[in-house]
């Protein structure tokens, strides 16, 4: 496993790695990623910025095992993401996803939505409940646990999605425009919460965003343009 040095000079474990990753759609007609290479160290908060269609979401999907590269290697915690062999373990225990649209199941309650990943992973109900209450307390949703999704505000829904993503204690959080559907105030509140949770849970955060102000609050900024990554000298 590659060891990098953190800004403080301490060795930092690499948890995400893309090596010369290429990805295109429509039989190669639309090239989205053109030889992307970069690494993310454990505990970093990384913002992927760039215009729509530059490949931010595609990159997150590749790290989450939802898609596979045409060429190149994508590794998570030192293991190459193989859609057939490691995908379930990856999705159940190693990465959590937050999307622009909360993607919650509307007929279920907040509590039931959050428990879905624990059902998938076969985690016992008592452990799952304890974890849920811990997260609900941190996100200020304890009093809303029994509410159906339709009755929650946009910010509450996104906080619920955040809880769901962290239920199985993943060490990597992949957030695709997590505040993109929220107003400025809710957006800032949710993002602050995201950073707080990432810090307290020891989660590595990779976030695709258009919002430069939010991106500036991450400790690393990667610019994506024309299918390639450019890292500014300072974030």
């Amino acid at each position: 496993m590659t060891i990098l040095h953190s800004q403080a000079g301490n060795p930092a474990r690499i948890v995400l790695q893309a090596e010369d990753v290429w990805k295109s759609y429509d039989d190669g007609a639309i090239a989205v990623l053109k030889g992307v290479s970069f690494e993310v160290a454990e505990g970093q908060t990384v913002a992927l910025c760039g215009p729509s269609g530059c490949g931010k979401s595609t990159l997150l999907h590749l790290f989450g095992g939802l898609d596979s590269p045409d060429r190149g290697r994508v590794t998570v915690n030192g293991t190459e993401v193989n859609r057939h062999r490691n995908l379930l373990r990856l999705l159940r225990h190693e990465v959590g996803f937050v999307f622009q649209l909360h993607n919650l199941i509307p007929d279920l309650t907040l509590e039931e939505n959050c428990l879905i990943p624990t059902v998938a992973a076969g985690i016992d109900h008592r452990t799952a409940q304890a974890r849920l209450h811990q997260l609900a307390e941190r996100t200020g949703l304890t009093h809303r646990l029994g509410q159906r999704i339709q009755k929650l505000s946009g910010g509450e829904r996104q906080r619920t999605a955040l809880c769901r993503a962290l239920m199985n204690q993943p060490k990597i959080l992949l957030a695709d425009e997590p505040t993109g559907s929220l107003d400025e105030r809710s957006s800032s509140a949710v993002f602050t919460l995201l950073l707080e949770l990432a810090a307290t849970e020891g989660v590595t955060l990779v976030m695709a965003t258009h919002d430069r102000a939010l991106a500036a609050r991450c400790n690393r900024l990667l610019e994506m343009h024309d299918g390639r990554i450019h890292e500014p000298a300072t974030a």
């Binding site: 999907h61 989450g64 939802l66 898609d67 379930l88 999705l91 159940r92 225990h93 996803f97 999307f99 993607n103 919650l104 199941i105 007929d107 279920l108 039931e112 428990l115 879905i116 990943p117 059902v119 998938a120 992973a121 109900h125 769901r164 199985n168």
Partner: protein
């Protein structure tokens, strides 16, 4: 619990569609239950007539229907004298009609026949049976629908008969039938010197195999079968059973198509939801289990509703006067179990393609789908 809620959530979300699917299965189950129960009951009753106080039935080999069987009286006389035979009762079956009833089963029997001896005589004297050629004894139901009383003269077929008794038996067919002296029946049906079958009671049941061999050896054109053997092998029964299950099966097939349609729609309308479950770590088998679970709930509810509807229908049919004595509406647990299992299998079959489709959904593509 959450998993089960994921299953039922979609059914609740599309209540009308779910109800139509459940109703489809329910009607299929009710149809199958009704047809199969009626025919099984009919077969059971007919078997009961043959096995009344006997273990073996002798009839003409290779006949498709016992009504066409001719067993000569000479054979009857010889068999009755075999030492292993406790008693041998010839029975001639015939069908007659009256003004309002196109089919009345007629039994030509001797006065010693168990059907006469063991029945409950509601009115009349058993010892008077077969004293005159125009005497008949009516089953309780037959007396009811013929509006006949003791000593009445009733037109049956092309003759008029004197009612010398009314009896009650445990068998619906017999209760709806007419008992004639064997000689009178032979004359009435132009079958002099023959009976349709001989029902045999052996002194020792262990002699059954030897008895059958003797019949085979002595009478090339006759066959002897034990009651259970006869019920299993009689072609009419097999045809009836096959028809009943085929009719019910067609009903279930239609119900299954309804479930398949519902499940396909169910999957198509929540592609994104299934993608989210995949992202949350649901495996292919878990996704399939959810779809199969949904169809199993539909099938199970349909089966329960169908069993209830079918039972009500059977009870209602039993109350129809014209069908008195011909329908045994008692539900057999085995049939109920088979029907439920078939309904579940139908539901599962109907969910095969939708489940396969759901498993093939690629989360990354579905998430782009708004």
């Amino acid at each position: 619990m959450i998993f089960f809620k994921l299953i039922v959530t979609n059914l609740r979300r599309h209540r009308i569609r779910s109800f139509i699917s459940i109703a489809g299965i329910a009607f299929s189950v009710a149809a199958m239950l009704t047809v199969v129960t009626i025919l099984q009951g009919a077969i059971g009753m007919f078997s009961g007539i043959l096995s009344n106080d006997s273990e073996i039935i002798v009839f003409e080999r290779n006949v498709s229907d016992l009504f066409f069987s001719n067993v000569p009286s000479a054979a009857m006389d010889e068999i009755a004298n075999w030492p292993m035979v406790a008693h041998a009762d010839p029975v001639l079956f015939g069908v007659v009609s009256s003004t309002d009833h196109p089919i009345i089963t007629c039994f030509g029997v001797t006065a010693e026949d168990a059907r006469i001896r063991k029945a409950t005589w509601l009115t009349g004297d058993r010892l008077a049976f077969a004293q005159h050629s125009d005497d008949v004894v009516l089953g309780e139901r037959a007396a009811e629908f013929l509006s006949a009383k003791l000593d009445d003269h009733v037109p049956i077929g092309h003759g008029v008969f004197h009612v010398i008794g009314i009896l009650k038996t445990a068998n619906g067919f017999e209760d709806g039938g007419v008992f004639m002296p064997l000689n009178s029946a032979q004359s009435f049906f132009h079958k002099e010197g023959v009976s349709s079958v001989i029902t045999i009671k052996l002194r020792n049941k262990d002699d059954a195999a030897a008895f059958k061999t003797m019949v085979k050896t002595k009478f090339a054109n006759l066959i002897a079968l034990e009651d259970a053997e006869f019920t299993r092998s009689y072609s009419q029964f097999r045809i009836l059973k096959a028809t009943a299950w085929a009719v019910g099966g067609c009903g279930l097939l239609l119900g299954g198509l309804g479930v398949a349609n519902t499940m396909i729609m169910s999957v198509f309308t929540r592609i994104r939801e299934i993608a989210i479950l995949r992202v949350c770590g649901f495996s292919h088998p878990q996704i399939a289990a959810m779809i199969f679970g949904e169809s199993a709930v539909v099938s199970l509810l349909g089966a329960v509703l169908g069993l209830f509807t079918g039972s009500c229908l059977l009870v209602a049919l039993k109350l129809v006067p014209a069908l008195h004595g011909y329908i045994d509406a008692s539900l057999q647990p085995v049939i109920m179990l088979i029907v439920i299992v078939l309904a579940l299998l139908t539901g599962i079959a109907g969910a095969l393609y939708p489940a396969a489709y759901a498993m093939r959904i690629r989360a990354v593509e579905a998430l782009r789908f708004e």
